[in-house]
Structure formats: C-alpha cells, structure tokens
C-alpha cells in the first residue's frame, strides 16, 4: 500500500486539462483504495465479533485455602504481563510476542483439581478452573468470568450479569509428556489448555461491553517438584489412586514453584459504546 499512497501525492498542483482529468481519475482510484484500506478486516470468527490474540506470562503464588483434600483441589493466584502475540503473516507461525504492554493479566485465582477416577493418560485427570479472574487492559477494559451468582461486585466495578454459567474448563495435558520450561531455566513444563466465558464489565476499550470466550493454549512451567518426583506421584494412579496417594499428589502440587504462559484468544460479541 505505501506505493499506492505515493501515487496520490501532488494532485492539488495546477495541471493541464488532460492531466487534470487523469488526476481526477487517479483521485477516484485513491479514494477507492482508501475506502478499501479503511474497511476493517474480519475477525477470525466472522463479522459481528471482536477478537484479540494476546500472550501472557504469569507467576503463581499459593492461595488460601491452599489445599482442599475433600474436593481434590489446590489453589494458586496468577498474575503477570500481557502483550500481543507475534505471528508470521505468511505462514501463521507464532514467532514470539510483541513489546508493547497491553495491561495486566490477573490476579486470577485458579483451582487445580485431581480426578483419581481417571487415568493419568486422560486429559480429565488434572483439570483447572477459574474462581475469580480479572484481566485489566490498558485501554480501560476489564474482563471477568461469565459465571452465575455474582450478587455483589468488587469495589469499583459494576454488578455483573448473573444469568450466565460458562465456566473455564481447563485441562493439563500431562499425557503429552514433559517439556523444557519456556523460561529456559531449570525444571520442566506441562501443557495446559482451556476455554471459558468472559465479559467486559467496565464498558471501556476495544472489548467494551462484550461477552464471549477466552481460550488458552499454553504451558505451566514447574521449577519444583522435579519431573521424577511428579512421575513417582503419578505412578501411584496406574490402578486408581487411593486417598493417601491423592493427598500426596495434592501436597506436591501445592508446594510447586510455577509460572504460566500462553497465547490466548479472546472473542466477544455485543455492546460497544
């Protein structure tokens, strides 16, 4: 497009009649190109949707009540930076991340749940859900989960709709094996994926007033425990874990030093001021 824009320069200068006609024709071509260029590209889900692909990197800290043995859950609070994902426009390969901060991902209170009734080779063995997650964009937008029962709103936020129930359905993909940590440091990574409902509650920014989904497709990096220790804990579930083995795995997870990172698709529809 820079070449086309360059052809339009100098049309306001005095020109012979023949050249004026050509200039006028050129002007129409330029206006057409401008109109075509200003027309927004369609988001991946089609017209009527607004979509972002962000990259977040978050650190986890233990969160009360830490471990719930009865529910088979451990709790963490995640928080960190987010930027745009960087994509090669020719191949679609995600080559890295942008440099401009888009805001703050989190705090997000997340529960990891072990289901001893499922094999460790199943993606339902170790799942995660979002209990109270916020995503703060620099343009003022604030994303919250689409969950029922929001009788009260956090300070400074409007009351959220309570008619939706689209919880995060997150899955660890430990069955894909361990990865090197993306941090390049010690430890190992496990893949994690999941989608859930989200809504913009402040009426601000690119996603203002929209309701939709958030999908992560990333990994959790563990500095501790060691992969061998985790393997030992998982081996106890080969024939279905007992209460002691479940408690041991939960305690192991609760003591983890971990970070998370993911490219994350956010797609909403509806109100925009």
């Amino acid at each position: 497009m820079p070449g086309d824009a360059g052809r339009c320069r100098g049309q306001g200068q005095r020109l012979p009649l023949r050249l004026k006609r050509r200039a006028r024709a050129g002007l129409y071509v330029c206006l057409g190109l401008l109109a075509a260029c200003s027309e927004p590209s369609s988001p991946p889900g089609g017209a009527g949707l607004r979509s972002l692909l962000i990259h977040f990197e978050v650190n986890a800290t233990p969160q009360a009540p830490y471990v719930d043995l009865a529910a088979g859950e451990v709790f963490f609070r995640f928080e960190g930076d987010m930027v745009a994902s960087a994509v090669d426009p020719a191949t679609g390969r995600v080559t890295g991340k942008g440099s401009r901060s888009l805001g703050r991902f989190g705090p997000a209170v997340v529960a990891f749940r072990v289901n001893p009734a499922r094999s460790p080779t199943s993606s339902d063995f170790l799942t995660f859900r979002c209990i109270d997650c916020g995503i703060h964009f620099a343009d003022g937008a604030l994303l919250r989960p689409l969950l029922p029962g929001d009788a009260t709103a956090p300070d400074g936020e409007p009351l959220r709709s309570a008619v939706f129930d689209i919880p995060m359905q997150g899955h660890f993909l430990q069955n894909l094996g361990a990865l090197s940590p993306q941090t390049g440091g010690i430890g190992f990574g496990l893949r994690g994926v999941g989608c859930g409902g989200t809504q913009e509650v402040m009426g601000l920014g690119l996603l203002a007033g929209g309701r939709g989904t958030i999908c992560m497709n990333g990994q959790f990096d563990f500095s501790s425990p060691s992969p061998a220790t985790l393997a030992q804990a998982l081996a106890g579930f080969a024939d279905g874990g007992d209460a002691a083995e479940l408690a041991a795995l939960l305690q192991l997870l609760a003591g983890s030093l971990l970070t998370g990172r993911s490219d994350c698709a956010i797609t909403v529809q509806g109100q925009r001021p």
């Binding site: 369609s42 991946p44 972002l52 090669d88 343009d139 899955h171 999941g194 999908c215 393997a231």
Partner: protein, 229 residues
C-alpha cells in the same frame, strides 16, 4: 474362525501389555517425565471457514461433515486484534462435528448444556503436515493418550449480530482437542492441542433443537491456535 483369531490376538495383546511387553501410554508419560528432552514447541495462529453437510441426527444430537480452507490469522502488534484474512495455508477435509444437547434443558437459547464432539478431523497443511485427532482407540486393549474435543456451542450468548449470506444466524463455539501430526511437514511426528474460538452458522434461527437438527447445511468459522511439540 476370523472372530476366534481376533479374540486370540486381543487376548495376546492384553497379556503382553499386562506383562509389560508393550509400553502403555502411562509408561510413556512416566518415562517422559523421568527423562525428557527439550522438544521445540511450534505454535500457529490460523483460521478456518468451513461448509458442512448434515451427516446424522438423533433425539439429542446432530452431526455435520465440514470441509474448507484454512488461512493465516494475523495479529495487530499494537492492540492484539486478531484477523482471519491471511493467505490460505491448508485445508480441512471431512471433519465430523457432533452437537449434543441435554434434553432436560428447555428449548433454545436458554439451553446451556451443550457438548461439541469431534471425529475424523483431517487438517492438511500446505507444508505436507497432516493433523488428526489424539484419542483412545477402544478397539485396542491399551490405553492410549486421550484428549477428545471438549467443546461447547454457546446458545446462551445469543446469535452473533451482523450475520448475512446463506448462514446468517451464528452462535459462538469454543473448545480444545488433542491432535497429532503425520505426513512430511513441520508438524509430522508431533503432538499437541488445537483450541477453537469461533462460531457455527445456520440458515435461520431455530425455534428449538428439533428444528436445528433438521438443517441440512451449516458453516463453521473460527480462529484457532495450534501448539505442538
């Protein structure tokens, strides 16, 4: 006679597995954790625009076979806006998507209990990679790695505004599934996950599920991320 041979074969495989002669998916997982090597993670941002033909239906389900092009989904570096109009880099062929609804829910769109399942995914990329599903094979005695599509069609969000063309009524669809790569491209021999974040379109707004399952054709449009290692 053939049945007897098959039963003997299955019994043999089962005994071999129990005796540790065949490495189970759990063994592979544990070995991976105990001694893993740094595999490169490949990530893609793509978009599909598929046309579907109904392939079956029942009281609480309907399925379509979807095929169509896969394009690059680009990202604006300034604000992360995701756009789906890049060059074509692949093709989906005969992907069977099944929508199941909980019949205890009443009508549409208040029905929030939906389940999108998938069989026969075949995503052919221009570099020669072919992606298919990563599922347990019930025909074998072993437990394979099992990461089925766990998707939802979100009627509760209502139709997406601004629909036009032959499928003007679109509802949001979302979910993730395991995939494995074969063929000759960059993703051959790798395993990972595909997460969709898009919509399924219908010819008109269905009054109820009985009407929806009667639609012969549908479309599926979505941006999706692919991460494999």
């Amino acid at each position: 006679m053939k049945r007897l041979c098959l039963a003997a074969l299955l019994l043999g495989l089962s005994l071999s597995a129990s005796a540790g002669l065949i490495e189970s998916a759990l063994d592979i997982l544990l070995r991976s954790l105990r001694s893993f090597s740094g595999a490169e993670v490949l990530k893609y941002s793509l978009h599909y625009d598929l046309q579907g033909q109904r392939s079956g239906s029942g009281e609480d389900w309907v399925s379509w076979n979807f095929s169509g092009p896969v394009r690059v989904a680009t990202v604006d570096a300034a604000d992360a806006q995701w756009q789906g109009e890049g060059p074509v880099v692949g093709q989906v062929v005969g992907w069977n998507i099944r929508l199941r609804v909980d019949r205890t829910s009443v009508g549409l769109p208040p029905n929030t209990l939906t389940d999108l399942g998938s069989t026969r995914l075949r995503l052919e990329l221009a570099d020669g990679s072919v992606l298919t599903e990563l599922l347990d094979d019930p025909a074998t005695p072993l437990t394979e790695t099992d990461i089925p599509l766990q998707g939802r069609l979100l009627f509760e969000l209502g139709p997406i505004p601004g629909g036009s063309g032959p499928f003007p009524v679109r509802y949001r669809a979302t979910g993730c599934m395991g995939v494995q790569g074969s063929g000759s491209g960059a993703l051959a021999g790798r395993r990972g996950a595909l997460c969709i974040s898009g919509a399924v379109g219908f010819p008109k707004r269905p009054a109820d599920f009985a009407e929806l399952r009667g639609f012969d054709r549908a479309e599926a449009i979505s941006g999706f991320t692919l991460v494999l290692h």
